[in-house]
């Protein structure tokens, strides 16, 4: 309502800007007067220039005559304007009172959005993001992390989302921070290496290889690291070593490993006549792990689809924890994810489920409770 009142006031002011001068006789300096004063200035200046020797005698005389002639002419130019009685200005007043507001309202209703209120950022931190898109979620986490850059868990939660969206440089940064703050593990190192690899266009760089090597020190069976190191051998042109690495990797794989087909395809590149039946050739190297298949697609997904994808990841985690409640880090990650998604109620519900399923294991529950308190949900 206030908006319409202010708009009405502004419109009235605009109309008045046209109406006021119509009703009042303006003060009108005549052109001739102004011109004459300038010609007198010129004559004065001529005298000064003459004194300083800036103009010769003959020229000064010629100039004086020139200026005087113009001075005389300027008088004749000023025709006395008889003050005629002002006309009624019917059309003009109509323009100011009707056409002007109508035009303004018309254009505004065409381009404006009067139904939308201001949304200053200060008031929006607590706003639920249920219907928001994935960019909002990321923005929330990013601004949280900008304020608390030492929150390693936050970086860790964010990194797979960056990977899914194809923001590999950001994923490298996030994983680097997570590694620094939470310490190296096989998984963090190998994910870091994967992010580096993807950031440089699926080339296993020196830095990435170092990360995979570190990961293998923690866990010699880390599949992701072995996968990419095999790829690195291939890229470095060490064909025989690459074949051996791929064969070893495939041999150790469970039959239903999601990355098996990709590994076989890689191997097939080196051994066109290999006895291993090549799986359907894939366009590019496909990595193992949860971020395997749809990274490229993620970037082109609509916000709604991305949102769905993230919610899918979260509900998958929830389902896994319900089946296997002993994973305390999993619970912590789930709480955090719900908080980040702007669903604190869901987080609390998850805590209640954790309490129920971990009732016989107080030592694990204590860890989960501690995590919940840290995140800010376990107060009740």
């Amino acid at each position: 309502m206030l908006l319409w009142i202010v708009m009405a006031v502004l419109t009235a002011a605009a109309s008045l800007a046209v109406l006021i001068p119509l009703g009042r006789q303006p003060h009108a300096p005549a052109h001739a007067g102004a011109a004459r004063s300038i010609y007198r200035d010129q004559l004065d200046e001529l005298v000064r220039d003459r004194e300083r020797g800036l103009i010769g005698d003959a020229e000064a005389d010629a100039a004086r005559i020139e200026i005087s002639r113009r001075l005389l002419n300027s008088d004749s130019g000023a025709a006395a304007e008889a003050p005629a009685p002002p006309p009624a200005y019917r059309i003009e007043r109509l323009v100011a009172l009707v056409l002007l507001p109508l035009l303004a309202c018309g254009i505004y209703l065409y381009v404006g959005s009067p139904q939308l209120a201001d949304r200053p950022a200060v008031n929006r931190a607590a706003e639920p993001t249920a219907q928001g898109n994935v960019d909002d979620l990321i923005a929330k986490v990013e601004s949280h992390l900008a304020a608390n850059p030492e929150d390693g868990r936050g970086w860790e939660v964010l990194s797979p989302i960056y990977m899914r969206l194809g923001r590999f440089d950001d994923a490298v940064r996030a994983l680097g921070n997570a590694k620094r703050l939470l310490g190296s593990t096989a998984e963090r190192e190998s994910l870091y290496g994967e992010a580096l690899t993807r950031a440089s266009g699926n080339v296993v760089t020196e830095e990435a290889r170092a990360a995979f090597d570190r990961a293998l020190k923690f866990d010699p069976d880390d599949v992701r690291s072995r996968f990419f190191l095999a790829m690195a051998l291939g890229q470095a042109g060490q064909k025989d070593d690459a074949i051996a690495a791929w064969k070893a990797l495939i041999a150790s794989a469970p039959a239903d490993a999601p990355w098996l087909a990709a590994a076989q395809a890689e191997l097939a590149q080196f051994q066109p006549t290999s006895t291993v039946t090549a799986a359907a050739p894939t366009a590019g190297p496909v990595a193992p792990g949860p971020t395997a298949s749809d990274i490229a697609a993620a970037a082109q997904q609509s916000p709604a689809e991305r949102q769905q994808m993230i919610e899918g990841m979260v509900s998958g985690l929830a389902a896994r924890l319900d089946a296997d409640p002993k994973d305390t880090t999993g619970w912590e990650r789930l709480f955090r994810a719900y908080m980040v998604l702007g669903k604190p109620d869901e987080a609390r519900a998850a805590l209640l489920r954790a309490r129920a399923s971990l009732a016989e294991k107080p030592e694990l529950l204590a860890v989960v409770e501690q995590a919940a308190r840290d995140i800010g949900i376990g107060k009740d």
Binding site: G166, S200, V203, A299
Partner: protein, 156 residues
Amino acid sequence: MTRKQRRLTLISLAGVVLASAVGLVLFALSDGITFFTSPSDVLAKPPSVDQRVRLGGLVERGSIVKEADGVVRFAVTDGKATVPARYVGILPDLFREGQGVVAEGKVDGSGLFVADTVLAKHDETYMPKEVVDALKKSGEWRPEDGDGPAPQTVQR
């Protein structure tokens, strides 16, 4: 001097200034401009050793070699042809492998492009217009490619 003579002097003065301006421009246009080429063009018909050209394309992956004292070797590619380049100096912040680049300099006798100026994109999504056109010409333009040249130009 009569009025006519004065006017004539003025007009001839204007003529002299104009003529010299036109002469200078024509002279400079034959000498002081730089043609834009793509790596394919350079290989097809190499420019003469003393002709400055602008070479546009993508920095070939894995081609950047940094040597002592700011000497950088890299290769510019348009997907069809690749030209090795050498530059001394500080590269732009966004000079990266696989990204668009415009290098200005001369091609020496051995086919090495000696750049004295290197321009890279100015932000994440910017691609020099000449590079976009060159890539389109060589069929390397893949706007849908996630890490390839981005389709949109500067949005800021």
